[in-house]
């Protein structure tokens, strides 16, 4: 079926026979090979099945289709595959007269061979005293390190062949990094030629690299299929050059599609999507790999029966990947899910019964509207954002943390539009005792300390790497980082600074008269500029942070995307971009069209957080069952079924409060407070610690562990606190035991409380059978039952 689709699609294209890419091969100089690809009449990659030959002596070709020049002249590349014979003309120009130069020829080789990578000579203190800049971003430094340091042993002028630069990586002299440059390789010959011809630098007027392009941009294939990538570089003079042999390749999901050092992709058995990135010097290009589900019984790929904008994008993806969505979740599952996702609390039994009994067709939408208006929604949002912003009270002071917490809660109670929320954080000023948002700048003080948290929170970008060196997976340089940091250069503070572990005093954040940020290497004073964006003039008396906030919330394409991605991840169990704060070209979203559509919807709704939640929870996609079918077994990133998750520590704690009818008391909180209302992670709780609430001592402090552990299992089984709540004299069990109702009714209520459903007749019977045992007291039975219900995955997880 799928094969047929491919076939029909290909019929739509202009008729073509077998093809070689590129159709004609031009080679200049003997160290620049060209990788070819062989495509059959359907456009399928057949490079790995082809046999290559060249009759004449001007060039050679290896079994993988890489053509290498020998002498100037013209000839033909002959390709045989599946009985077809194809050829492509080859022209070799005598470029050998120009000796290799450092920036153009040698630096790319060092990068390709891994010499300047993080674990080798690129690491901060080098390796064995030999240090290169990470990935070759600093030409001057590296040239000096090679040619001048170590008393000229690395480059031995009188006998270039004896240079350590050749003898070490070729394994002639022991090399910690192993044999990386065989003495018979073209790269070896090229480096030797560079040494012999005087170690030239590349002249400044040489055409500069402007970008690279990987071919093809998109691949769709099945298990064990192979694809050859080609990478072309383009230069300022318009020239293009094959750099496949110099590019480094990386797959975002090696399990799905692995790529080898020569750019050959091999598809694995699992359906899904992967991005294969080619890197050449500081440029990237990505090939999207799609692996549709193959034939699976009688189930066909399918769409969701809905025109909701989210469902349309999800369905497009299902079709592309050959997935079929799971069935809609049952009402009981949906009810429990939406309560826990939006409010972080369980529905009361009467709420459950009323909703389950409601026959009206639009009841899921109606419920979503009601829940979004409840105060718990705001508290839950605040609890989530507290993970990201709330500092350690020992460091910034108790009152400051309390104020920040109050400010956060107030923002979500008012449903402040998210762009305004971001602006209030980024431009916060005034007293830490009056404006909670200003506490962010009491905690993070230096511009380079503030930069990564702001970019991570509001742009979903991890800039940390660019602080010390060019970002290894991104286009951002150290200069970009410090220009961004320069927006925070004029934050003034007066009052009492930090004095951990008490730091109780007030501090006032204001616009200082001066303040600059310098490039850490050149010492140059840098003007503020947005990341790869146009700087705007900042009037003399204006806080530069205002301009930044404007750029982030109004111009940056990442702001809305990062925000919707976080909310999507919360509700759907995994971000469209995962991890949620790592948006970059080399980590593309699982469904780019959906991320765009969500961001568009968010902007259209003036960054209304409630409306964003409403859009998502009213989609069919959100309401799917977690149970897989034959056609979506392996899907872990396209949401063709709902992904189960464990609620965060506070929610689980409050869930136990709700099913036992016994709320724990927390230090520094009114009696009966919910755990998600706690204003500091310092409030002692064995339960919350066991279930991975963030430790405010962690840096970065936003780390929350969602994993389950044995300590958690033991705590639920045997924890004194949990037991005491089950046995609470004012609790649910005590009351049910005392009530004048049949045992069946009591059992049913506990089921409703814990699982949001009544027990099935068989389940009820099983419980009653245990209860029948002689000597079983009614209260004891109900306590055991509640304990048992709490200790099952059906209670602990959101299905």
């Amino acid at each position: 079926m799928l094969w047929l689709t491919t076939f029909l699609l290909s019929l739509g294209q202009p008729p073509a026979g077998w093809r070689i890419e590129p159709p004609s091969i031009h080679l200049t100089g003997k160290w620049s090979p060209c990788q070819v690809r062989v495509l059959d009449p359907l456009g399928k990659d057949r490079t790995s099945e082809s046999r290559f030959s060249i009759t004449g002596k001007i060039a050679s070709v290896d079994p993988h289709g890489r053509v290498l020049a020998l002498v100037a002249g013209e000839d033909k590349l002959m390709v045989t595959c599946q009985g077809a014979n194809i050829e492509a003309p080859i022209r070799v120009e005598a470029g050998n007269a120009t000796p290799p130069t450092f920036e153009k020829d040698i630096q790319p080789l060092l990068t390709r061979l891994g010499c300047n990578s993080g674990p080798c000579h690129g690491k901060q203190r080098g390796q064995n005293g030999f240090q290169l800049s990470l990935f070759g971003f600093d030409n001057d430094f590296d040239y000096h390190a090679l040619t001048s340091e170590s008393r000229g042993r690395r480059v031995f002028l009188s006998a270039p062949r004896n240079s350590l630069l050749l003898k070490k990586p070729s394994g002639e002299v022991p090399h910690g990094g192993g044999k990386r440059l065989p003495a018979d390789s073209p790269a070896f010959a090229q480096i030797l030629a560079w040494l012999e011809t005087g170690q030239g630098r590349t002249p400044a007027n040489t055409p500069a690299l402007t970008g690279i392009q990987v071919f093809p941009r998109e691949i769709s294939g099945g298990n064990k299929e192979q694809f050859q990538l080609r990478v072309e570089a383009s230069f300022t003079n318009g020239a293009r050059q094959d750099v496949t042999h110099l590019a480094a390749f990386q797959s975002s999901e090696s399990v799905l599609a692995e790529v080898d050092a020569d750019g050959r992709i091999r598809i694995g058995p699992l359906p899904g999507q992967a991005a294969v990135t080619a890197r050449f010097m500081d440029h990237f290009s990505t090939c999207q790999v799609t692996i549709p589900v193959g034939a699976r019984g009688k189930t066909l790929p399918g769409r969701l029966p809905s025109e909701h904008f989210i469902d349309r994008r999800l369905s497009d993806q299902f079709e592309k990947l050959g997935l079929a969505p799971s069935e809609p979740a049952s009402d009981t599952t949906f009810l429990r899910r939406i309560y826990l996702d939006l409010l972080g609390v369980l529905p009361r039994p009467e709420e459950t019964q009323a909703w389950l009994g409601d026959p009206s067709p639009g009841k899921r939408e109606k419920l979503a509207r009601q829940l979004l208006d409840r105060p718990e929604f705001a508290e839950f949002q605040a609890n989530k954002w507290a993970d990201l912003l709330r500092p350690n009270p020992y460091r910034t002071g108790i009152k400051a943390v309390y104020n920040l917490n109050s400010w956060l809660r107030e923002s979500f109670r008012k449903n402040t539009p998210f762009d305004q929320f971001a602006r209030e954080v980024i431009t916060a000023e005034g007293s830490t005792f009056r404006n909670g948002a200003a506490v962010v700048f009491r905690d993070r003080r230096e511009p380079e300390e503030i930069t990564p948290i702001i970019s991570q929170l509001f742009l979903g970008m991890r800039l940390e790497c660019a602080k010390c060196h060019h970002h290894p997976f991104e286009v951002y340089s150290q200069e970009d980082f410090f220009r961004f940091a320069a927006y925070f250069s004029r934050i003034g503070r007066k009052g009492t600074g930090l004095s951990p572990p008490i730091s109780g005093s007030e501090e006032i954040v204001f616009l200082a008269n001066s303040g600059t940020v310098k490039h850490p290497l050149t010492g140059e004073v840098l003007d503020p500029a947005p990341l790869k964006g146009k700087p705007r003039a900042i009037p003399a008396g204006e806080d530069p942070r205002k301009a930044l906030a404007e750029w982030i919330t109004r111009e940056s394409p990442l702001f809305a995307k990062a925000a919707v991605n976080r909310v999507w991840a919360d509700l759907m169990g995994r971000g469209l971009v995962d991890p949620v704060d790592d948006l970059r070209a080399t980590n593309p979203p699982a469904n780019p069209a959906l991320l765009d559509a969500l961001a568009e919807d968010f902007i259209k709704n003036a960054f209304d957080i409630k409306k964003l939640h409403y859009s998502i929870v009213t989609s069919r996609g959100y309401g799917l069952s977690s149970e897989p079918n034959q056609r979506n077994q392996g899907d872990g990133q396209n949401y063709s079924r709902h992904y189960r998750k464990r609620p965060r520590a506070e929610v689980l704690h409050d869930m136990i409060g709700s099913v036992t009818g016994s709320r724990a008391d927390f230090a520094a909180m009114p009696a009966g407070s919910l755990a998600m209302e706690i204003w500091t992670f310092r409030s002692p709780s064995e339960f919350l610690d066991s279930f991975g609430r963030p430790d405010p001592n962690q840096d970065p402090p936003c780390d929350r562990s969602g994993d389950s552990t044995m300590v958690q299992a033991l705590h639920l089984m045997n924890g004194k606190g949990v037991l005491a709540r089950i046995q609470d004299e004012a609790g649910v069990v005590k009351n049910l035991a005392a009530a004048q109702i049949p045992l069946e009714k009591a059992v049913e209520e506990l089921y409703l409380r814990c699982y949001c459903r009544a027990p099935a007749p068989l389940e009820l019977q099983a419980v009653l059978n245990i209860a029948k045992k002689p000597g079983s007291a009614r209260r004891q039975i109900l306590e055991d039952l509640l304990w048992a219900l709490i200790n099952t995955p059906e209670f602990i997880l959101i299905d």
Binding site: S626, D695, N697, M717, V767, D784, D799
Partner: protein
């Protein structure tokens, strides 16, 4: 009565397990595979005593009697059982068993604050970015978590314990929370000490527990998606529930936890204080087969009042450590148990105006004993005034590589983070030959 019933249950479970293993080759096959994958090991277990704050090298294992008063401080060195090796005067009991000790005096690094120093020593990897003093950072799995992921403990016991809390960077990082330390808080010195949540609450007698398990079985109808690629979190919950039950039912584990069974004579010899009894509990865990135990001992950040503080602290520290090492030697388990004593860094040569010493990572001392370590030796040296390691200068990487190699874990191994990022277990896998024996 309880324990009797549990012992029976445990025995029955063992029988079942044994049978399954025989039939499927499952467990025994797995054990065999894991021991083959590992290299030759000298040590089966590690007890790492972490002196949080950064212990002074002058007043412990690297006294400098020839330095001027403002550097050498108030204490004098004493001779040990091994001619030529001297330690601080308040460590007489360790001095008396110096033939069992290897003192490493020449580790130095470049991380002078607690967060960074802890990370470097606990993981063998420097923090990737500069971190603040109060920071709790994790960029790399700790020694304990790596050990837990490589060496299973028997009978459902956790493989990595940390008492009474986790150290700052003692976590599993990308290895996942399965290898986080099992933290046993509370003081084993207290008369009603018990390991939290691993035993049934007092009011639950055996019959009640059984009815609970029965009840749970009756209500647990939740669908599990067994296929691994579905990543169903209920499978992890099942694993942990089972592990938890195993631990509760494990006679071996419960016996190890029950420090109250230890004869008074032994308990006294370790010292009737928190540290002493935790060290004793650590020995019991080693006997039960636990491969990695950290004793996280705070209060070694002596910026002021160093000498009076140490006059109080060192005698119990000395007594406990000496008792631990000697007790394990008597029991024949010292050879297979590596005892390590260290902190983030050493302390400044010049005594400051508050009578303390500040952070100093140019020199620090680390104590090794057991686990096949040749005793009675000093490795490396600092200069005459203790400013810096100058002979046989070693790094935290050397230290970590040595610990791993002793456990039979290849320090040159490459680990992969969840996103596929490769990470060297230790970036420089060279071990310290003198300690390898």
């Amino acid at each position: 009565m309880n324990s009797f019933r549990h012992a029976n249950l445990a025995r029955r479970d063992c029988l079942k397990l044994g049978l399954g293993a025989l039939m499927g080759g499952g467990l025994s096959g797995a054990l065999k595979a894991s021991s083959m994958a590992r290299g030759k090991s000298q040590a089966k277990s590690v007890i790492l005593v972490w002196l949080d704050g950064g212990p002074t090298h002058y007043e412990t294992f690297d006294p400098k009697p020839d330095a001027p008063l403002e550097i050498r401080g108030n204490f004098s060195p004493i001779a040990t059982k091994v001619p030529g090796i001297k330690v601080s005067q308040h460590l007489p009991k360790l001095a008396a068993i110096a033939h069992r000790l290897a003192i490493l005096r020449s580790v130095r690094h470049d991380q002078g604050n607690h967060g960074a120093g802890n990370h470097y020593m606990m993981t063998g990897a420097p923090p990737r970015i500069p971190v603040g003093c109060g920071a709790f950072v994790s960029y790399h799995p700790s020694l304990g978590s790596v050990t837990a992921s490589e060496i299973p403990a028997p009978e459902g016991l956790p493989s990595y314990f940390s008492l009474p809390s986790m150290t700052r960077s003692g976590g599993p990082n990308f290895l996942g929370s399965k290898f986080a330390p099992f933290v046993v808080d509370g003081s084993p010195n207290s008369p009603n000490f018990r390991v939290r949540d691993v035993t049934l609450p007092k009011e639950m007698d055996g019959a009640k527990t059984l009815s609970r398990q029965e009840m749970r079985q009756a209500v647990d109808r939740f669908a599990r998606f067994a296929d691994k690629q579905l990543n169903d979190p209920s499978l992890a919950l099942d694993d942990h529930y089972r592990q938890g039950l195993d631990l509760m039912r494990s006679a071996r584990a419960q016996a190890a936890f029950d420090i109250h069974n230890e004869p008074d004579r032994i308990r006294d010899s370790y010292g009737r204080n928190d540290f002493g009894q935790r060290a004793l509990l650590a020995r019991r865990l080693v006997e039960a087969g636990v491969p990695f135990i950290v004793l996280n001992e705070g209060g070694w950040d002596h910026h002021g009042g160093l000498f009076p503080a140490l006059e109080k602290r060192l005698p119990t520290f000395d007594a406990t450590l000496a008792a631990l090492i000697e007790d394990m030697a008597q029991r024949g388990i010292l050879d297979s148990t590596l005892v390590l004593v260290l902190g983030e860094f050493g302390r400044t040569p010049q005594i400051n105006k508050d009578g303390g010493r500040d952070h100093w990572s140019n020199a620090m001392s680390i104590l090794f004993a057991g686990g096949g370590t040749p005793g009675g030796q000093v490795i490396g040296a600092t200069d005459r005034q203790g400013y810096a390691a100058v002979e046989r200068v070693l790094s935290p990487e050397h230290f970590a590589a040595t610990v791993y190699a002793k456990l039979g874990i290849d320090p040159a191994k490459i680990l992969y983070a969840g996103n596929g990022r490769p990470a060297h277990l230790v970036s420089n896998p060279e071990t310290i030959a003198e300690l390898m024996g």
